[in-house]
């Protein structure tokens, strides 16, 4: 199986879907001539031309709205935001148009659109450009939300997102674009709403998604090495719909869980996951479920403070030790 970067896996998914369906188009800032701020759209303008790979002005609300209209008219647009921090400007189109038109048209007008781009903190981009938006977008009925952690999942989930008849949010990561991994060639589709066990374990489930999968995998290694504890790493992959069955299944086996996410603690993804666990796996819990999140502050620019504010393997290990009653 070929090894690709996360960025090239996304590129492959876009290219294959554009080849497969002439209605698929890509639109956003610098996606064409510059080939993408993060080079996800490399070579696409050349291959598919400027009717299908469209450079836009710096006007997120405008091009998001054009995308929604195109989707209502029967096309399948993929809207790239240079980062999700900029997509806040387009939230009215995402939340009030894309997510609601199918409902408000009595089921007559589907909106098959994809909004994608890097989400969460990179390195020292400061408070306004280091935000994780998954709990914002996954709050909205009418949207689907995916957050792949590996190149293979990035390809498979973007293909599913493009083929879905609903608006789908694809949360990528600047720090993930260079991550390499094996990616199946051709028709590799990961269904939306299906979590994945990235590492099997017996004693505690570390529930994570996107960049925190790497954090959880490192924590699992440390737990195995230093504590003799076997941690299961469950990658949610889809945040809406959540794979409740996988969450409950894993916690039923391990009886303990730590939920890790990049976002802030209040009303975060972890809060939703904990709700599922206490409701559906109550009789299987041997300890309260703990969460590891970004510190409840705007992201600091200072490198050391930024490091301390983000979820880290050390913080996950500390939380796991507590739910394992090792402290």
């Amino acid at each position: 199986m070929p090894t690709l970067t996360y960025r090239d896996a996304l590129n492959q998914a876009l290219r294959e879907e554009m080849q497969r369906d002439p209605n698929v188009l890509l639109m956003g800032e610098e996606v064409g001539v510059y080939q993408g701020a993060y080079k996800v759209s490399r070579g696409l303008l050349e291959e598919f031309g400027s009717m299908r790979v469209v450079d836009t002005p710096i006007a997120e609300l405008g091009f998001a709205g054009i995308g929604v209209g195109a989707a209502m008219g029967g096309l399948r647009p993929v809207i790239e935001f240079m980062t999700w921090n900029f997509a806040v400007l387009a939230l009215d189109q995402i939340v009030n148009s894309a997510a609601k038109i199918l409902y408000e048209s009595g089921g007559q007008i589907p909106v098959p659109i994809v909004f994608r781009g890097p989400n969460g903190a990179a390195l020292q981009l400061a408070a306004q450009h280091s935000q994780a938006w998954e709990s914002w977008v996954s709050h909205i009925p009418g949207l689907k939300v995916v957050a792949p952690a590996t190149p293979a999942d990035a390809k498979g989930l973007l293909k599913s997102a493009i083929r879905d008849n609903n608006p789908v949010i694809v949360l990528e990561g600047e720090m993930l674009y260079n991550v390499k991994g094996e990616v199946p060639e051709g028709e590799h589709v990961v269904p939306i709403g299906r979590a994945d066990i990235k590492r099997a374990g017996r004693d505690v489930t570390l529930i994570c998604h996107s960049k925190t999968v790497t954090v959880a995998l490192k924590a699992a290694e440390q737990l195995a090495e230093h504590e003799g504890a076997s941690a299961e790493v469950l990658d949610l992959r889809s945040l809406r719909p959540l794979d409740e069955e996988a969450i409950v299944g894993s916690v039923t086996r391990t009886n303990r869980a730590v939920v890790v996410e990049e976002g802030w603690p209040q009303a975060g993804i972890g809060a939703q996951v904990v709700d599922v666990i206490q409701r559906e796996a109550f009789d299987h819990l041997d300890a309260p479920v703990l969460r590891v999140t970004q510190a409840d502050v705007p992201m600091p620019y200072n490198r050391q403070l930024e490091r301390l504010a983000k979820p880290s393997p050390e913080r996950v290990v500390a939380a796991a030790r507590r739910v394992l009653y090792l402290d």
Binding site: L285, D286, Y325
Partner: protein, 425 residues
């Protein structure tokens, strides 16, 4: 955030506890799990441990004071709070017996936490067994009584591994205890005579419990008594032979008490009708045999439990009996070591008592009272001969055991003691 330190229910029946000794002082740093104080419960002296890290503050219960379960006895301030509180600590010195406070200081102190009368939380909350949902489900499925399980989780929470280990598999501790026979212990010394007509001595926690428990026995329970005399000649021979053998191997000797526990357990296994609990609307017939063994302790008595006595060897029973008796006298028994008996034995043989009746320990349905082994003239085949005899009196709860049922059990017990080889059957 400060964490209240409550008087905890350290035994299943404890309603109040007396602070014997504080191990930590106001201002001492404490870590979760560290012993804060020794508390005399109705059964034993137990450790009250810290449930949080921080600094001990506002110790509101002086040594010697009896505090209801659920009341706040101190506060553990979070490590972060400790520094900030130091300047105000002068205003919140340990409350004196009079409970008066320097109002001038309090007025200037930046809002010290109220100390003098910590609010009592509902006792129902404090006595509830804390268990994880998983432990609760496992205990229910396995028929384990969570009250008998010691929790190892935070705040004494019973967790999965505690249920897995307890109480069915409670293995005897392996260490060989020094051979301490179940001999009379010295009673608590009465106060010095003062020349007045009498001395009033407040009830200790254990006496209070005895008083409370026993009136729930002889009063409401319809007792009846069965006595039988057992020829102990062959039991004595067997014991001598066994001890000779054991002596060569350097192990602890077998006592008559061990033989009686073993024989009783085996007889109960064959007479389940007597191995039962009366439970108001139902009778619980036990398939396991857990023998409660009354032990005289300073100022009272307690019945530690030898679990699965029918499945243990004489040497195991002997070792456990000695260990439990030692712990009982030192008041170090854990709650799971003195609860859950299915039947009890009270032995006053060493006090030269020929025969007596014992009071049933509810919810158990029976107890046997063992008298001394006495040399007496007996008639064997029409001739007088010297013999060794022992009287056993069984107290039965008539709501569970009828006369013939109790008699059948006693006959089996008598046969086993008169012919110890029968225990091998």
């Amino acid at each position: 955030m400060a964490t209240n330190v409550y008087m905890e229910a350290l035994s299943p029946t404890m309603e109040e506890g007396r602070v014997v000794k504080w191990h930590k002082k106001d201002g001492d740093p404490v870590k979760t799990g560290e012993t804060l104080a020794e508390i005399e419960t109705d059964k034993a002296v137990m450790d009250l441990v810290a449930r949080a890290d921080g600094v001990l503050r506002q110790v509101a219960a002086p040594e010697g004071q009896t505090i209801p379960v659920g009341s706040v006895v101190a506060v553990i301030a979070a490590p972060g709070e400790a520094a900030g509180e130091t300047p105000t600590s002068a205003a919140q010195t340990k409350p004196s017996g009079s409970g008066k406070r320097d109002t001038g200081n309090v007025a200037t102190a930046p809002a010290p936490v109220a100390v003098a009368t910590p609010p009592a939380v509902a006792p129902a909350d404090a006595t509830r067994v804390k268990a994880s949902p998983l432990a609760r489900r496992m205990a229910k499925e396995a028929g384990v009584d969570l009250k008998l399980v010691t929790g190892s989780g935070p705040g004494g929470r019973v967790v999965k591994k505690d249920v897995e280990r307890a109480p069915n598999q409670a293995a005897p501790a392996a260490a060989a205890a020094p051979a301490a026979p179940l001999s009379p212990v010295s009673r608590v010394p009465l106060p010095e005579r003062t020349g007045t007509a009498y001395e009033d001595v407040p009830l200790t926690q254990i006496r209070k419990t005895i008083a409370k428990r026993l009136v729930t026995s002889l009063g409401p329970i319809p007792h009846f008594f069965l006595t039988t005399e057992v020829d102990m000649e062959r039991a004595a021979e067997a014991r001598e032979a066994l001890n000779k053998q054991l002596g060569d191997q350097g192990e602890g000797k077998v006592s008559f008490n061990d033989l009686i526990i073993k024989a009783t357990a085996l007889a109960l296994a064959r007479h389940r009708a007597c191995n039962a609990w009366f439970q108001e609307d139902h009778i619980r017939y036990w398939n396991e045999v857990h023998i409660g063994m009354a032990v005289a302790v300073e100022d009272g008595l307690i019945t530690p439990v030898i679990r699965h006595a029918d499945r243990k060897s004489l040497t195991e029973i002997g070792r456990e009996a000695r260990e439990l008796a030692d712990k009982a006298r030192n008041r170090r028994l854990q709650p799971n070591e003195y609860t859950g008996a299915t039947f009890s034995i009270s032995n006053l043989g060493m006090f030269d008592i020929d025969q007596f009746t014992a009071v049933i320990n509810p919810p158990e349905a029976g107890i046997i009272a063992i008298g001394s082994i006495v040399q007496k003239a007996v008639v064997v085949d029409g001739h007088l001969a010297p013999g060794r005899r022992m009287r056993i009196t069984m107290s039965c709860d008539h709501r569970v055991i009828d006369g013939a049922t109790g008699a059948a059990f006693l006959r089996t017990l008598k046969q086993m003691l008169e012919n110890p080889l029968a225990m091998l059957l």
